[in-house]
């Protein structure tokens, strides 16, 4: 681990990471960029991650050597492109715990995955008087579709509250998940609080009532081992771009018998078996849900991202992030009055750390840090109901990933100290 001896904390313990962060940093070309005459310190991976050289090269390599439309062409390139596209599907199936590749549907991202479920499965299975259960810590992507659907169907939207420590409060769960519940949709890891939710337990309770379980894995899949079979999720959705892969690609995992029972989402090419003027039959899953030409190049390049993550090992990534999150929380706590949201124990959370200063607004924090080359996120993080519960208009959020180290956290702390001096706070 590289260390910066100038601004090391007297209290916080050195980070022992199982990863070689210097080597990892060297794989990410953007980290060599200067931002406002400073070394780029990228602490906004919860919004989107940076991309390693191998992923960037995979995109251009696809266009240079493999480009063709997939599945229908009978020629060399079409076969090559199809094989590369389907290879990613197999790799995803392995990555989430060894599911059947036909249970992996490519989407544009987590948001589209949730909307697909809302417009197909939920449209047909949720009726007046039914209940949909979400949590108070959902991202708008896993909130707005259900608010709208519940209104349209005259169904009730129920929510699992959070405790003051930022955990889900399951003490009254039997009153929330009931025989009326048709769907339980919950985030695996909060993008604001960092909380890792007990999705296995929630799935068990939901299934006992005959409900279907959707897990939003946008924040969890990049950072920890995901086993959709072990957690018994009926649907699991996530995005490529938060886990080193390109933008515009997402994954919807669904249990095969559920996917098969669902009507298609988009209509057009590829999703059909037979078309007549008076009748159409659907293709098999997953193709039924992949109408039109998908983002082939970026799906293909997503495979390089999965390879990179698997080479490091998801368990070692998690171990690194626990150690670095502990260090970051300890160091942030040295700043008097700074309020850190969510669980304080790094074992129970991910590396997205939201904080507020008693006098300096998150926007001003973000602008100041930017002049020092440090990228964080400021705002409501697409979780306005949660912000209201926390009593905040906005928070600043620093989020950690595989290419961050102690020196990045030290740079953040040093800049925050300087910021307080600047604003006279």
């Amino acid at each position: 681990m590289p260390t910066n001896t100038n601004n090391r904390s007297p209290k916080a313990e050195t980070v022992h990471s199982p990863l070689d962060i210097d080597r990892i940093k060297a794989d990410f070309p953007i980290l060599k960029e200067k931002v406002n005459n400073h070394r780029l310190v990228y602490l906004d991976s919860a919004a989107t991650s940076q991309k390693p050289e191998t992923v960037i090269n995979a995109v251009t390599d696809y266009y240079r050597r493999k480009n063709a439309n997939i599945h229908r062409g009978i020629h060399y390139l079409a076969e090559k492109a199809t094989a590369a596209y389907e290879l990613t599907r197999e790799r995803v199936a392995g990555f989430i715990g060894g599911v059947d590749p036909s249970e992996v549907v490519f989407t544009r991202g987590t948001t589209e995955g949730i909307n697909l479920i809302a417009y197909t499965w939920a449209e047909h299975n949720i009726n007046e008087g039914d209940e949909i259960v979400i949590t108070e810590m959902e991202h708008h992507a896993n909130l707005v579709p259900w608010v709208v659907l519940a209104q349209k169907k005259k169904a009730a939207l129920r929510r699992i509250p959070i405790t003051i420590c930022g955990h889900l409060d399951l003490s009254h769960i039997d009153d929330i998940i009931t025989s009326k519940t048709k769907l339980v949709s919950v985030t695996h890891m909060s993008n604001v609080l960092g909380t890792i939710n007990p999705v296995e337990e929630i799935a068990r309770l939901a299934h006992r009532q005959g409900a279907v379980v959707l897990v939003d894995g946008a924040q969890a899949a990049p950072h920890m081992t995901v086993d959709v079979k072990a957690m018994d999720a009926d649907f699991y959705v996530f995005s490529s771009h938060k886990m080193l892969g390109p933008t515009g690609v997402g994954v919807l995992y669904g249990k095969k018998h559920i996917l098969e029972s669902m009507p298609p989402f988009n209509m057009g090419g590829e999703m059909i078996r037979e078309v007549r003027f008076d009748r159409v039959t659907w293709n098999e899953v997953p193709h039924k849900f992949e109408a039109g030409t998908p983002d082939i190049a970026n799906v293909v390049a997503f495979e390089a991202a999965l390879s990179y993550l698997e080479l490091l090992g998801m368990d070692r990534i998690r171990e690194h992030e626990i150690a670095l999150t502990r260090y970051a929380i300890e160091r942030l706590s040295e700043l008097e009055g700074l309020e850190i949201q969510g669980p304080q124990e790094p074992e129970l959370r991910g590396g997205a750390i939201s904080f507020t200063d008693p006098t300096i607004h998150p926007h001003d924090i973000s602008t100041f840090l930017d002049t020092r080359g440090i990228a964080i996120r400021a705002g409501h993080h697409c979780a306005q109901p949660l912000m209201r519960i926390l009593g905040k208009v906005a928070t600043a959020r620093a989020s950690l990933y595989i290419y961050n180290d102690e020196a990045d956290v030290d740079a953040l702390i040093e800049a925050l100290i300087e910021m307080r001096r600047y604003f006279g706070a």
């Binding site: 998150p362 912000m387 006279g424």
Partner: protein, 159 residues
């Protein structure tokens, strides 16, 4: 040490941020308008008490960053005592100035010139706009005969 930040966080702005004007809530407002910046969640409440077509009293309560709070405080200071027509004209001028148009501002607009530095930080322009857009929306609604804005004003996204 001088740095680009100093253009935005001028002393005048920080002074308004630390001690915003117009904090006193009004008992009998004629115009109430709410502003909301969807990008960051900032919220602003504005009340105006009229006397013979003049903005006699104004209250601005902004839960936001230094720029949006300072901008709202300047608004309260500048707009107080002006006739409705003039208040609107000034608000439109300030909006144009913040959006990068070359406009001549009257001399009697107090500290408003200090906001010009915000234009170097494109993502922050909407913070400075919030209070002015809220005022314009409040005036629009008042003229249409609504005492209170029905839906919250938002800053324009194209800034």
């Amino acid at each position: 040490m001088s740095e680009p930040l100093d253009d935005m966080y001028r002393d005048i702005i920080m002074d308004h941020f630390r001690a915003p004007r117009g904090k006193q809530k009004l008992d009998h407002p004629d115009i109430t308008s709410e502003g909301h910046n969807p990008a960051c969640g900032d919220e602003l409440e504005m009340q105006v008490e009229l006397d013979n077509g003049t903005l006699k009293k104004i209250h601005v309560d902004c839960r936001g960053c230094a720029i949006s709070v300072a901008s709202g405080s300047m608004l309260a200071e500048i707009i107080k005592g002006r006739p409705l027509e003039e208040a609107r004209r000034i608000a439109e001028l300030v909006r144009k100035m913040l959006k990068g148009e070359e406009v001549e501002l009257p001399d009697d607009l107090g500290d408003i010139d200090a906001l010009r530095g915000v234009r170097q930080f494109p993502v922050r322009i909407k913070c400075a706009l919030l209070s002015w857009v809220t005022l314009i929306e409040g005036l629009d609604n008042y003229e249409k005969g609504n005492k209170t804005t029905v839906k919250p004003a938002t800053t324009e996204d194209d800034s």
